[in-house]
Symmetry: C2
Subunit: 199 residues, 2 copies
C-alpha cells in the first residue's frame, strides 16, 4: 500500500514528506513551481467533488500539460471521458468513479471495473451502511489493483480496511481535509503501525 497525500498548494508539500506519493489537485491550487517528485495529477470537476467548473477541453489540456511537466507517475481521469482522452497521457492512468449520494449495487460497480481502460480503477462512493462496505470489499477481493473505499466520516475506517484488502492507495490530507473521511497523514501512519502493517 502507498500513502497518498492530497495537497491543495505547494506550501503543504513539506508537511506531506512522509507520504509515498503526492496528489496535486489542480482544481484546488497552482503547482507551477513544484519540485521533482512522485506525483498523481488530478483536475477534479465540481460534480465529482472538486472545484473545477468550465470547459472540458481546457480541463484536459491543463491536466495533460501539468502531468507532462511534473513527470507524473499517475494521472487521475474521470471514468466518463471518451476513449481518446486516455491516449493523451504517457503515464499510468487511474480511472475514477465518484458518487457523493450513494454506493450503487454490486453489478453496477463490477461493470465499471470490468470495463476499465486505465491501469487502475478507483471507486469512491458515499457510505450509508455496512452493506455498502461489504460491496466495496467484495470488489477489492474480486478485482486486484482496484482502488476503492467509502466517502464520509462514519466510514473513514474503510480507507484503511481497503488497503488491507489490496487497494494500492490510502488518500490522506495534511493541513486541511480535502474529502470527507480522509485521515490526516500522521494519524494514518500511527494506525497502520499499531495494526502491524507498516513500520
Amino acid at each position: 500500500m502507498r500513502l497518498v497525500t492530497t495537497i491543495s498548494n505547494i506550501s503543504e508539500l513539506e508537511m506531506a514528506k512522509k507520504s509515498d506519493i503526492i496528489e496535486l489537485r489542480l482544481d484546488l491550487g497552482n503547482f507551477e513551481n513544484v519540485p521533482p517528485g512522485k506525483y498523481i495529477v488530478t483536475y477534479r470537476r465540481k460534480a465529482d467533488g472538486g472545484l473545477y467548473v468550465g470547459n472540458e477541453e481546457e480541463r484536459i489540456a491543463k491536466l495533460r500539460d501539468n502531468a507532462k511537466r511534473v513527470k507524473a507517475e499517475f494521472v487521475d481521469i474521470e471514468f466518463d471521458v471518451e476513449d481518446s482522452i486516455l491516449d493523451l497521457f504517457d503515464c499510468d492512468v487511474i480511472e475514477s468513479y465518484h458518487n457523493f449520494k450513494e454506493t450503487p449495487n454490486y453489478e453496477f460497480l463490477k461493470n465499471l471495473v470490468e470495463n476499465k481502460r486505465g491501469d487502475h480503477f478507483k471507486v469512491a462512493t458515499m457510505g450509508r451502511s455496512i452493506e455498502d462496505w461489504k460491496r466495496i470489499a467484495k470488489l477489492l477481493i474480486e478485482f486486484d489493483g482496484t482502488i476503492a473505499f467509502l466517502i464520509g466520516e462514519k466510514f473513514k475506517f474503510t480507507r484503511i480496511a481497503a488497503a488491507m484488502l489490496g487497494s494500492p492507495f490510502i488518500y490522506c490530507y495534511v493541513g486541511s481535509k480535502k474529502a470527507p473521511g480522509q485521515f490526516e497523514l500522521e494519524e494514518a501512519l500511527k494506525i497502520l503501525k499499531k495494526l502491524g502493517v507498516r513500520e
Copy 2:
C-alpha cells in the same frame, strides 16, 4: 462489534473491565470464584491451541458445569464434537474451527459455516498471505454473524478488519497474550477509536 478479553485467571478480571464480554479459558486457569458477569466459557484442547489433554467426556462435563454456574452467555465448542453435545447447553453456542498450520480453501471454509449447528461459527486459521485474508473476508461478507480472522502476528490486523466486515467479536488479551496476534485490550480500544468505529 464486542470486545472479548480472554483471561487465564481471576486476577486478570480487573484489567479486563473495559471489555464487553470475558472469555474464561478453563484450560488455562480456575474460575470457581468468578463474580456475576458476561461470559464466554471455553475449554480448549491442545490440538486447537489450548492446554487441555485428556478425556473428552470429562472436558465436556466441566465445560457444561462451568457454563451453568457462571450463567454463560456463550459456550465455545469445537466443530468436530457430536451433535448431541450441543444440546447439553442452555446458552448460545459458538462452534469453532482452529487451524494453526494454514487457511484451507474457500470451499472447505464455506462448507463448515453452511453446516453450522451452533449460533455462531468461528474460524481462526493461520495466516500466510493476503490471499488467506481475502478468503476470510469473503466468508464474512457471504455469511452474516460469522466470527473469522487469521492467526499470527503478521496478520493481527485481520482481527480488527474482520470486525469491520461484521465479525461480532474481537478477541483481546490483558496481562499475557493468549494467542498469536491478539491485541492488548487498551490497544484495540485505541485503534478502534482512531478508526472512528468506537467511542
